[in-house]
Symmetry: C2
Subunit: 134 residues, 2 copies
């Protein structure tokens, strides 16, 4: 089971690379650097652009720059954009038959774990990841 899917991961790499370049970065450059399949990367960047994580510039010489400072781009943001909300704990039973979540011991444990995971993910920003690479 993966915590982070491919699109999230690619988004992360792309954003990191954009941070390190002061100029706008185009898809061809990113492809060259990260070798991610080009159309897939394009799709990902378009999403990031819509969400304001990056800013896009069309036309010749165009490309992408950051839309936010790297200290304000959280891994959790990317994760939620591409993977939806982090819910480790969804009851497989429909609500009718579920002996009330609040009472279910497994559910309690899983919620606890989910909280822990969130607590650890929360502080991770692009900035912190890049610093870690030094």
């Amino acid at each position: 089971m993966k915590l982070i899917t491919r699109d999230t991961d690619y988004a992360l790499r792309a954003v990191c690379f954009i941070v390190k370049n002061k100029k706008t970065v185009s898809v061809p450059e990113l492809v060259r650097e990260l070798n991610i399949p080009r159309p897939f990367l394009r799709k990902i960047l378009q999403v990031l652009s819509r969400k304001g994580i990056v800013r896009s510039f069309k036309g010749k010489g165009g490309g992408f720059t950051l839309g936010l400072p790297p200290e304000k781009i959280y891994l959790l943001d990317l994760l939620r954009i591409f993977q939806g909300p982090l819910k480790l704990n969804e009851c497989t039973l429909n609500k009718k038959r579920c002996p009330k979540i609040s009472n279910c011991p497994l559910s309690k444990k899983l919620s606890g774990i989910e909280k822990q995971v969130l607590r650890e993910l929360k502080p991770i920003t692009i900035a912190s990841l890049i610093k870690g690479m030094a």
Copy 2:
């Protein structure tokens, strides 16, 4: 993203029910009680049987009993049986291009999270879950 898939969950419920019955429990009984699709449940129980979690008795009047005391059946066992090893942290890059895992800051963070999750999962047994339901 689910931490626990349906088969693991069904297995868990089935095992819990078996614990509470001193006699052998047959698939029809389990279906009645848990309403899990019968052939699916059968498949799950066969796996549990092969793994020694439950013991099976063939023939008329047959069914399943526990193969281990409930304090020795770990949620993690079931999880691993049905979902493979818990690895939250698998690099999307192939080994060639991965800038060595030990150096990758994301990988480090995710490993940390994985360890935490394992630490929380480890102590959970069938016995502890049942006690929690009291």
